[in-house]
Symmetry: C2
Subunit: 726 residues, 2 copies
Amino acid sequence: MARHMALASVALVGALLAAPALGTEAKRRWTLDDQLTAPEVRALAISADGKSAAYVVRVADRESDRTVAILRRVDLASGTTSELLRARWIDQLSRVPDTSDWSARIDKGDGVQLYRIGSTGAVSPLVLHPATAIFGDREGAVFPGYGHAPLSTGVRAHSWSPDGRRLFYVTVDAEPKGKAVRYDDDVTAERARRRSPGQATASIYLREPDGRDILLGKRPQSDLTTFFDRNHIRWQKNEVQYDVMEVGADGQQEVVTMAWVFADRKARLLDPKVERVYWLLPGPDGGRLSSQGNGDERELVETLPGGKVRSYGRFPFAVGDGRAVGGFRSLDGKRAIAGTRTIDNPRFGLAVVGNGKVRTIGGEHSLNICDFVPSLDRGACIVQGQTTPPAVVTVDVASGEIWRVAPVSQAHEAIDPLNIEPRTWVNRHGYKATGYIVWPRGYEKGKRYPAILVTHGTDADDRFANRENQWEYPVQLFAERGYVVLLVNDPSSRQNAEIRAAYDAWIDETKDLAPERLQQLIWLNGVASYEDAVKELVDAGVIDPARVGIAGYSRGSQMVNVTMTNSHMFRAASSGDGGYLEPAFYADVSGSYDAVFGGPPTDPAALAHYRRLSPSLRAGEVCGAILQQVAAPYIPSIDFYTALRKAGVPAQLSLYPGEDASSDETHIFHIPSNRVGAMQENIAWFDYWLLGKRDPGSPFADRYPLWDKMGAAAPRCDGPGGEPGG
Amino acid sequence: MARHMALASVALVGALLAAPALGTEAKRRWTLDDQLTAPEVRALAISADGKSAAYVVRVADRESDRTVAILRRVDLASGTTSELLRARWIDQLSRVPDTSDWSARIDKGDGVQLYRIGSTGAVSPLVLHPATAIFGDREGAVFPGYGHAPLSTGVRAHSWSPDGRRLFYVTVDAEPKGKAVRYDDDVTAERARRRSPGQATASIYLREPDGRDILLGKRPQSDLTTFFDRNHIRWQKNEVQYDVMEVGADGQQEVVTMAWVFADRKARLLDPKVERVYWLLPGPDGGRLSSQGNGDERELVETLPGGKVRSYGRFPFAVGDGRAVGGFRSLDGKRAIAGTRTIDNPRFGLAVVGNGKVRTIGGEHSLNICDFVPSLDRGACIVQGQTTPPAVVTVDVASGEIWRVAPVSQAHEAIDPLNIEPRTWVNRHGYKATGYIVWPRGYEKGKRYPAILVTHGTDADDRFANRENQWEYPVQLFAERGYVVLLVNDPSSRQNAEIRAAYDAWIDETKDLAPERLQQLIWLNGVASYEDAVKELVDAGVIDPARVGIAGYSRGSQMVNVTMTNSHMFRAASSGDGGYLEPAFYADVSGSYDAVFGGPPTDPAALAHYRRLSPSLRAGEVCGAILQQVAAPYIPSIDFYTALRKAGVPAQLSLYPGEDASSDETHIFHIPSNRVGAMQENIAWFDYWLLGKRDPGSPFADRYPLWDKMGAAAPRCDGPGGEPGG
């Protein structure tokens, strides 16, 4: 099974992985089940001796209708892969130093607890704590979820000292639902929340070499660093450092670094002016690595304690992207490794920094999830690409050699890869946007094809059927069904100072830019990119301009809604679980809206800016059918639907249910039956509105009569560029 | 215990009841517990022989922290009262014809079911149905609640044929929470709902004389007549008639009357053009009684089948008020009884219509809940008044004599009545508003008192400590504590054609009146009434103008919020569970807001009208401290709070919790500990902001430092009539 070969050049890795499998079996096409079960590798850890690795993959399980987590062990020499464990949830996978065991948070049915897993798969508890606090989209949960079932949680985080003798861990305790009246900000916080929140406290513990547990501190729920960021634990020789968030009397939040000194059994507060108190992307000189500047190259710099900056030169990649591999630093401090993302044709790799020099590892495909032995000499990673299913590889850091060890999903290896072509488009305003053309299977030159454009921020990069990008839009199936699919990113926010200033104003919630300018640079600029990307393929005779659709969720949903209310190029749209830009949302994101619109919608001056951009206020401009698929009945989506129908626009608002009456589907769907349904609905929607096709076997076939009726009564549109008429 | 005396004149009843008890015990003052346990009689039924009656009273039970229902039997000759049953819920009390038993829906812990109750209190099941559907403010409930704990419900309604041989009843079944996607209107319906709704079906049954149950029909949840109005069942000789709501293909709802013919065992649809198909307020001639016209007198008319109208003359009362006794008609059709409400000094009584004449029963106090023997010769009622605790009386219909039989609450009989004076105020625009002055205990002329005005639509009438009017504002305790309390109704909507047209436009959601005029007549007119009522007592030397507060919930909350943003007379306000008029609420009540504001707040022309009336858009005008007590974190209340704080106005938003994370407190609070808390909070709030008083023993004492801070930082106000300054 494992195909071993040393690759002299990183460029060859991609060539190898994209090549047909060595076996002789005939390759097959994508199926709906392939879309559903595309594996998501979420964690990987290498053993200290570099001989084995363990990884966690999340996969939809149709039978239980759950997304399950599978823990596998891979022998890095032979590629032999064995399943150690299958559970509702597994994360925070870590090697237990100086052993061949692993540790992880696992939900075996009694909540998320901390376990030790032997190399043969034997599981024994490390910390079991009553799992009273829920993380997820359930009534009474302490924090909302994002893409998983509600998790009853006993243990929130853990970290081993490098010698394995000490264990830092955090437990959480929900406060019982009380009879207390809640006041003011505790109430206003619920405005934006679908579910009534619970309250919890976190307890930070250190397990000492003799097995004793010392309580380092109790933390309130306002400490997001503990509840979300897992304290950024850094082990030092004599102490363990960890971050917590304090809320000052003025309500300002501040992250501070604490240290627990082993000998004294005392805590101390680090002074950020004299001690290194950050954790991310350490450089070899003990500073913090970052990429500076705008444009096609970025300067890699190390900011040292005290503020001095050292430059390593300019590179066509950036470090610090949240989707890239995090940072590692060897114990001797001579070498650092940081994850990279290339700027053109976005792809993930590694930058090895040492001796004042920078070397890259990776090339034709993405290295996304990596772990290294303590010396940073060897590592294991997940390699993947748009047409390359994820696989485990080993990395020799000194030589840059990458060895393919074992695939993650045999099923996906058996698919005949589609032709997916990376592109950079330049729009009418001169702005670049990266992305891909996914060519329909068996594309014939000279024939015009229907097309669907899929967008989600900057997530169109070199990963395999990545759900963060394509959500429940079955991109590969669309290509199998004869659609040209365009995966188009937002124009890069760092391509020049002007657009960067716009993003800065938006993110920092300033009023540095006039709303008109901000709206133009961030939203209408994107619409221009989409239109121009489509137009190029229309002009090239590839796309039929009368059969073009658009889809996107979240940030993509904003863009879909803005595009449909500002462009007449798209006959059908699918907009997923979004609603930002709707006036009704003002109070929940007032700072952000103040930047975008200049104030609340009840301010007559600002209202003009809402009327320029808020989709529901421009429903009369729409020239196509709009489907919204949502995980909860959020007000902005409802308002947009209502406005569309009032304007006579064919529209559908589809709410995918949670597991029970007290919980919701999550922003990234986690219930397999919902995922299958949403993909089938998208197929039915685009086939109907773009191709006029009906599938009597579709689970959405009962909607056709209503679609017929809405279509017949819709305002007349005169094709691309035409004006919607009455 | 029972004090029997025939009263020759109805006027004497009041005189008697207001007189001190015949016993010699010293009367006492109102306590918080008296406020909490003021009895609410919810149902009363008289036996066919007129010898006994049963009634249901709901009372807060501090120990279980539940509002419990108590079923009592009263011997109408002796007044002997016995408790038959105490349960979580009892309603739809009815006599079982031709027996001395009663029937009622009762929740004994396994959901609301139908039981028969013997005269000694023995309870036996009539219909037990799995209680899967929930009515209440709980996740997955089929309909929201209003003032009760979530009720798991098996039986929705029941009615006996006059001979007691047949039983009409309705059961409900919740649909199991499914995995189905929900679409469009099913989703938009949740915009205004705090809790995700469930779905249910209703089954209408007839139990035949031989005990067999026949299913007459299954009804969907869209049939509000079945789910809410209990089908308006009318028994005829050969059939039972009942209403259901049908939804046509065009989405229009229509109530139709069905009949089940006993002999054929078949259903038929009644033709409203030729058969009487209504149920409410039957007149002696088979028509429908109603009160017509505007002003201080109304014409009592009977509209006959076919449309002919018969007039009975003009009277200083109206029939058809939902708070009054319903309609009765004798079997021989010679006599009808309709509940009345007087126009000035609103009080409930009875109109006996027969032989073309109208006679009234009642006078000095209200007769609220009545039942009659089939001949309508005798009846039993609940009598009550502002200072008169509810008691059971018998009514001789021919003579009009009323006999007091038994009190409902001995505890409240023992309270020394306050001096509560009915008033009609005429404001600067010439509009009348009715209400009461509740004088402080031991009022001394010449001394100025602090004052609190309490308002809730037209609910300030002659009932005892009525929670629908005074909510958790402990009016009687305020008077005990030295406040003058004004209970002030809205100006009557029928005092002239102009205001009636405004109310019609509002209720019918037309644009017949310009928003400015509607806002003036319905809201600002009320503000003028409040100001002028206070001013009169200020001018009379009774009220200290620097210490005046205002309180109201629901409709009263609208008025409090509008008053505080348009008047500088009130230094403190308590606004309960409201938010109508806030822009964020537009989509949920668009027709109503279109009438009030001329369109959505995103229409620049309409926005001007929002800025004139929406409280959160006028927060800068406020000159006092505003407390909002809410049963759920509804957006409008949150928006008002946020706007107030942004404007520097002292404000507090207090959310009273439900029984658990999946349910909420109800609009009319039903959890005794919340009720006690809310009353104590109101006392603390007004004592602090009006009197500068602190009670270290108050459960809200920990809020004083925050109130101090908000008060110190508040915009300066220059007293009554002064402008809020910076």
